[in-house]
């Protein structure tokens, strides 16, 4: 399906030179670039950009689900910033975003441990690691509600039996605990994503690098720092950035576990988006909150993005 006719040497080597995008279109691999970008761009434009632009447009309206929208300018933004729960929700979202860090921690431990040659039955352990991710989040959420129920659940029962707790923690009604529980449940559910990415990066490190490091007498930590980390940091960063976005967009579990309460204490921005869009049927407000969520994510992501960009640019320049 792709043009494979022979080319002259000159046009083929153009790829090393910087050329403008349109200039490039006139040269040898223009068809390749066009063809390759087409599916990706078509997808991005039709499924993401158009709704995205429409969403921004909607945030300036009073936009009911069924009925005529009304232009309100910045009213929605003003309403949201001045709402009594604005700072509550920002605080909750900040704690909620820590789930990415927890996921990274568990995934690194699991991937590093399972990449060791001496561990037997690796295939089985790898498979098991995927279990939390193989289930709909609403289901794992229900299971955690069952296990963590303060009055009836197994976790409370055994923590009290072991003398770790003296009485049940009513986590869903406690503003602080509620935030940590939703954060931890989301961490537990989605960490296998990072695990798979980190593992595949680890797998691609040639064994000879470690052998060489050992010959030079590198200890465990030094081997990690000089061989392992440089090879996986790109993957770790990419996974970390993606998870920042995805974790902050998760709605099912927090809403199921706490219903956004007590008060608005666990109504993280994504939950609030859902509440506005579907429980209130107010799309103008929902998109407004959505745009705050995007801003929030960008602020968290930018340091990592820059690091990531530097990394791949360097790699591109390395010979």
């Amino acid at each position: 399906m792709i043009d494979t006719k022979p080319r002259t040497r000159e046009t083929q080597f153009v790829s090393t030179r910087e050329v403008g995008l349109w200039g490039r279109m006139l040269q040898g691999d223009r068809w390749l670039i066009i063809l390759f970008l087409l599916p990706t761009l078509a997808f991005l434009i039709f499924l993401l950009w158009l709704p995205f632009l429409q969403g921004i447009w909607m945030s300036f309206h009073n936009w009911p689900f069924i009925g005529k929208p009304k232009w309100v300018g910045l009213q929605n933004y003003r309403d949201f910033v001045t709402a009594s729960y604005f700072w509550t929700t920002i605080r909750a979202t900040l704690i909620y975003s820590l789930s990415t860090v927890f996921q990274l921690g568990i995934a690194l431990i699991a991937a590093l441990a399972l990449n060791q040659k001496f561990i037997p039955l690796k295939g089985i352990w790898w498979g098991i690691m995927l279990m939390p991710y193989a289930m709909p989040p609403v289901v794992t959420g229900a299971i955690w509600m069952y296990l963590l129920d303060p009055n009836l659940g197994m976790v409370t029962h055994y923590l009290i039996k072991l003398g770790i707790l003296s009485e049940p923690i009513y986590w869903a009604s406690d503003p602080t605990w509620a935030k940590w529980v939703i954060t931890l449940v989301v961490s537990w559910t989605f960490w296998p994503f990072m695990f798979l990415i980190i593992l595949s990066a680890l797998q691609s490190i040639p064994e000879s690098y470690y052998e060489l490091a050992e010959v030079y007498g590198a200890n465990l930590w030094q081997r990690f720092r000089t061989v392992t980390w440089p090879h996986i940091r790109g993957a770790v960063l990419a996974a970390f950035i993606i998870r920042i976005v995805w974790n902050l967009e998760k709605i099912d579990q927090p809403f199921q576990l706490t219903g956004g309460g007590p008060g608005y204490e666990t109504s993280v921005l994504s939950v609030l988006t859902y509440r506005f869009a579907f429980l209130s049927g107010d799309f103008g407000m929902a998109f407004t909150v959505g745009i705050f969520l995007i801003a929030f994510m960008m602020i968290l992501m930018i340091p990592f993005l820059r690091r990531f960009q530097i990394l791949i640019t360097q790699a591109g320049k390395r010979g």
């Binding site: 009836l152 869903a172 503003p175 219903g259 007590p262 579907f278 429980l279 209130s280 049927g281």
Partner: protein
């Protein structure tokens, strides 16, 4: 695709459903002669789409639904495409989005106070109801005024868009007798409970005798705060003001005196008397029922959908009469006559277009009628809510836990929640955070005022 093939069911399918239901003592309109007889032909070739929501209540109701659907198909020769759905779909995005884009079932069941948002897609059922035989119509006619009240903010409130086939009175109380003995209380003398003062005495006895640490529960979680026992208490103080919205849906009732008193009492049960557990701001009646079964609670408010839980978890104890249901009761000083709000599971038919519109609507109506057959109404009442047909109630009485006696005795002058297009927002989404704040120690009157302002703002737009 060969629709003819789809229409013939294997004997295995039939047996699967009927035996499963027989195992729990239920029979439906799917009788053996229907089962093995020739399929009817008067609606042959008609296909209707049915979105089922009631089946999500429990596996028995789901099987019951299947059985009723098959009985209808067999009786008429019509074909029903069933989609099993959940409450989350009508509360959340699914129904609205699908309806908006034209993906609309011919007939669906839902909670009647949540369909206001879809009203423009629905077809009034008055002409069908008008031609209904009096044998079926008369026993459900007590619901017609309630449907009107539920829709009183709409200009066409006289029209029936949602026909209730099950009602769920909110909320009876349920208790376990062994706790009464332990607390030294005389059940016969103290049941049913007279009013909230009487109730406080009972709870005090349970707590003082250390029968249960938190003998009772008030519910704060988003889906339970605004539709269990609270509204009934407010209603006993003032019928007019007891719904969330005023009569013409122009403002919220919730900043009024009866509401402040009702909510204050609700919160006091938790904060002042400590009869309700520290989890109150996030508790649900389903959870409280589990705790009652485990002996951690002595008495709770719970709708009769929870009866299935008792039957499943402790069937022997229910049979022995350990579990007893009783009616809801007024606030001290309130009227005894009217203490209940009822939720209603209802059927709606959507507006049909095209050449086969009329026959589809007809088929949908015939389908609804199947659900109103006495045997199906009885089976439904045994497995989930209370049947809409009054004439089958007497036959259901005499169960060892007296649930039918309890709920039917509450039903003089029940209230219903407004079917405002934003009812989910008003009754649950906006309400719960304020109740939870009040349970967390905020001033009740202030919270209710803030809530009423939010609602009033919505009503204006």
């Amino acid at each position: 695709m060969n629709k003819e093939l789809d229409r013939t069911y294997s004997r295995r399918d039939f047996l699967k459903i009927t035996t499963a239901l027989a195992a729990v003592g239920l029979t439906t309109s799917l009788t053996p002669d229907l089962l093995y007889g020739e399929a009817g032909t008067d609606l042959k070739g008609v296909t209707i789409d049915y979105w089922n929501m009631i089946g999500v209540q429990n596996p028995v109701v789901k099987q019951l639904s299947e059985s009723i659907i098959k009985a209808f198909e067999q009786r008429t020769g019509a074909k029903v495409n069933t989609t099993w759905d959940t409450y989350g779909s009508i509360i959340g995005p699914k129904y609205r989005t699908n309806f908006l884009a034209g993906k609309i079932p011919t007939v669906f069941d839902a909670i009647s106070s949540w369909t206001g948002q879809l009203r423009s897609f629905l077809r009034p059922l008055n002409d069908f109801v008008g031609e209904w035989d009096s044998e079926t119509k008369e026993p459900v006619s007590w619901l017609f005024p309630l449907i009107k009240v539920q829709n009183r903010g709409f200009s066409d409130a006289d029209q029936i868009y949602d026909l209730p086939f099950l009602v769920i009175p909110q909320a009876p109380v349920v208790t376990r007798l062994d706790h009464w003995k332990k607390a030294g209380l005389d059940f016969e003398k103290n049941w049913p409970i007279k009013d909230t003062d009487h109730f406080l005495e009972l709870l005090k006895a349970f707590k003082d005798q250390k029968v249960s640490e938190y003998p009772y529960e008030v519910y704060g979680k988003i889906w339970d705060a605004g539709d269990t026992q609270l509204n009934g208490w407010v209603r006993s103080l003032d019928i007019e003001k007891s719904d969330f919205l005023n009569a013409d849906w122009t403002r919220s009732n919730c900043d009024s005196e009866p509401w402040i008193r009702g909510v204050q009492f609700y919160v006091d049960l938790f904060r002042k008397y400590h009869y309700s557990s520290p989890d109150s701001p996030q508790s649900t009646d389903e959870d409280a029922v589990e705790q009652l079964i485990r002996g951690q609670k002595s008495i709770v408010h719970a709708d009769i959908l929870n009866r299935g839980t008792f039957l499943k978890r402790i069937p022997k104890e229910v049979e022995a009469g350990l579990i007893q249901w009783g009616p809801h009761f007024p606030m001290a000083g309130g009227t005894t006559g009217s203490v209940v709000f009822q939720a209603m599971a209802s059927f709606s038919i959507t507006k049909q277009t095209g050449p086969d519109a009329e026959i589809k609507e007809r088929a949908a109506w015939e389908f609804i009628k199947e659900w109103f057959r006495a045997e199906n109404q009885i089976a439904l009442a045994k497995s989930s809510g209370l049947s809409a047909r009054r004439d089958v109630w007497d036959g259901l009485k005499g169960a060892p836990d007296h649930y039918i006696e309890a709920v039917t005795s509450m039903l003089n002058n029940p209230g219903v929640w407004s079917n405002h297009p934003k009812s989910v927002d008003i009754q649950y989404n906006l309400f719960a955070p304020h109740i939870q704040q009040a349970m967390g120690g905020a001033d009740v009157a202030t919270e209710l005022k803030a809530y009423a302002e939010e609602v009033n703002k919505i009503l204006k737009t």
